[in-house]
Symmetry: D2
Subunit: 247 residues, 4 copies
């Protein structure tokens, strides 16, 4: 099995090293990841300049672009064969609820999905210094399962793994995305040159973290797996907006 690995924390991040290591036990792994930390990159594409592709001493490739750029370039311009899977991560920090919208980790997997490749994004629910081996092993388990029993539909899975030893995981749950409260306001600060600047604030606390959500699963010690799609149409509002326009 050929597996393309990417992330948004940069090719040098420990999370991607753990992931590549775990997946190389079961397939042929190619790593193509951003040359610098692109957390928060969402699905951004670089359109105003061309991309460079380089190879690090450890064999990982890196691109001066976004996670989406990396997968796009690898699949359409670098690899000889379409990969059998794209696996993105292991992200340092959760990607749950509305966060998925901003996440570069999820975006890398989404680009794989849009290019016709079954794709998985894997994130570790942890804020501190972290051990990525559990999450990497979960990713490998899913890849093995996929290899043995491929899904017949296009697949884009968003996986969040509790920060526990592998043996302490309480299982797996298929979930829907929860919701967060509004983000915290920007934080005003003054630079040493006396200029006012603003840091983007923290994500909001979970608002819908009830039964069935990713937030809930993880809080129970379960691996959360959310199948995603990319059609943002609010089908339920089409009639209402129609009425509104003719009133």
């Amino acid at each position: 099995m050929r597996i393309l690995v990417s992330n948004d924390d940069g090719y040098f991040a420990p999370g991607i090293a753990a992931l590549a290591q775990a997946l190389s036990e079961i397939g042929e792994v190619t790593v193509v990841a951003p040359e610098r930390d692109r957390s928060g990159a969402s699905n951004s594409l670089t359109l105003d300049r061309p991309l460079s592709l380089r190879r690090a001493a450890n064999g990982f490739h890196f691109v001066n672009g976004t996670p989406t750029d990396c997968v796009h370039l690898a699949v359409t311009g670098m690899l000889d064969h379409l990969p059998d899977m794209v696996v993105s991560g292991v992200n340092h920090g959760a990607n749950m609820g509305d966060d998925t919208l901003y996440s570069g980790t999820v975006a890398a997997a989404t680009e794989g999905y849009l290019l016709g490749v079954p794709s998985i994004a894997v994130s570790l629910v942890s804020k501190g210094a972290s051990d990525f081996s559990t999450a990497a092993r979960v990713a490998r388990d899913l890849a093995v399962r996929f290899m043995n029993q491929p899904l017949r539909q296009p697949m884009l899975l968003n996986v969040n793994v509790p920060d526990l030893p592998y043996e302490a995981l309480r299982g797996t749950r298929v979930t829907r995305l929860g919701k967060r409260h509004k983000a915290e306001p920007v934080i005003k600060s003054v630079t040493p040159r006396n200029e006012t600047v603003y840091w983007v604030g923290a994500a909001g606390a979970a608002a819908d973290a009830g039964e069935g959500t990713d937030f809930h699963a993880v809080s129970e010690g379960l691996v959360s797996i959310t199948p995603l799609q990319i059609d943002l149409t609010h089908t339920g509002q089409i009639g209402m907006v129609n009425d509104w326009l003719v009133r």
Copy 2:
């Protein structure tokens, strides 16, 4: 009515000037937009550095960040009151089908929506040098309608306007997002310094442009209005993935 205006083409773009002009006839307009062209920015947020907010000679504000940063900063750190609407655009070029995922124009409106503000993204379906007055007038019409008859639900509308004189528009259609074929491959090129580089290729041609889609409406000379939401959960796959995991 207080209206926050943003875009992804940059605060200096003619599309945002036309939009601000049209909306200032019906409300109090504040413009906060990126200092440079951020097309393709998607929902990316700037997390590794703080943002600066400046004011141009014409009163527009600009931020050294993404479209999402602009709306986030304006709403949570700059404006005294929550705006009544966020209007993003007028983008130079369509944002239909899967493009919405990559679009900074749609992302600016999405950020407004996530912060609790009814929001509209407006794009002009045109590739060449363009007249933004029709699209700006369409945006104003929608804002007036909203002012007179507010929707009772959270609102995020993606509006695409054909490149026609206002009088030549054949009406308005509420649509779902179409789908595109896979994007074109990256385009390999060599720099004057003899380095191989890759340009991200063009978006794919429309694949699902049938009746009911945004592609179809615009091709008929109609303004396309797609209500959007932001939950990417693939609800229809939850059962299947469950089965898959227990097999």
Copy 3:
């Protein structure tokens, strides 16, 4: 007379508007400046991506690059004729002593000089909100003088103007660059995401600000004019290093 105007504060800065205004009274002015604030850019050139050239509503051109890029592109790729002068500024803040090494304002003028065009960098010695009219008028005076009595040698002048009304200036002095003490250390800070970051510290205080230096002239209320060259060879050390190598 054809004058190319650039700066490092960005095309939207009030200092360049004042300069372009003053110079347009005596010649044909073209403005090509960075699209964003590039203070501290030194002579940096953009080599890893191509540059875009755009035109703002007020007729100024802007480039997604450094001050050096702007002058380089304008002279070698945009203007039909070699300009008679390059004038860079008016910078917001002094560029004296060792600062000239880091200054993008001086770099824009240096690029003109390297391309064979007599060039002037103009800076306003002020930290606060500023009136650029005095410095702009000084620049115009110098350009008029140059127009009437061209220098027979290549010319690169670094001009620093005290923050005084034009009538209060006490004259002009030709100076050498002073020296600064070492820069202040970086300032450690913690981001809202709990990451340690470092701000580059302030420039050092003047160390050699004696008679004959730019620091001294300005402190006396005089316009400081320092002729510059670009050969960094330490001629006085050639013998000593030779001895050292054969010991």
Copy 4:
């Protein structure tokens, strides 16, 4: 001896690996280099955002900033002791004549010099895929010489090494900087999105490459060593500009 190593090609470049390796045989080496290729960065400093300092798997540190930022941050904010030397390189490509003005490699050494540390910039005169071991060994030789016989003056040496086996080097020459002809014009190009862009052109050919210059030494198979200083005052023009102003 404590040696701080930096470059402008990025911390992952083979040239800095060879340099760190060679110097670690004679002293305690700390590497702090840019996280991405910053060729052409000149003395640029990052003033509008703070810097992050990270540690790669091989022990090298990297900074999301310029070569000047790296040395500035390392010396004023990271190292416990002032280093005994700063060595920058090995750059992939020559830094001779006017190039020194644009070079990030030279700039990193210059920052060391300004902070009171004897500093050396080392470049390999080669365009193709390269063997950096000769240049790294030359750098080590100079460091050993400096360790045994420190210079009594502040020292900033710009070293260019021919692309030859170490044994084939014909010796060392102390040189002055040569001069180049004007740079080649920008190269106009069209992006896949039909936008006109401009690549900065190549450096000009050597114009003053006569006896005594760096160009000349290298062409003879000699290592070129140019002592540099940073005062750009054109002392020889002070009288003439004085006359000009009073005419």
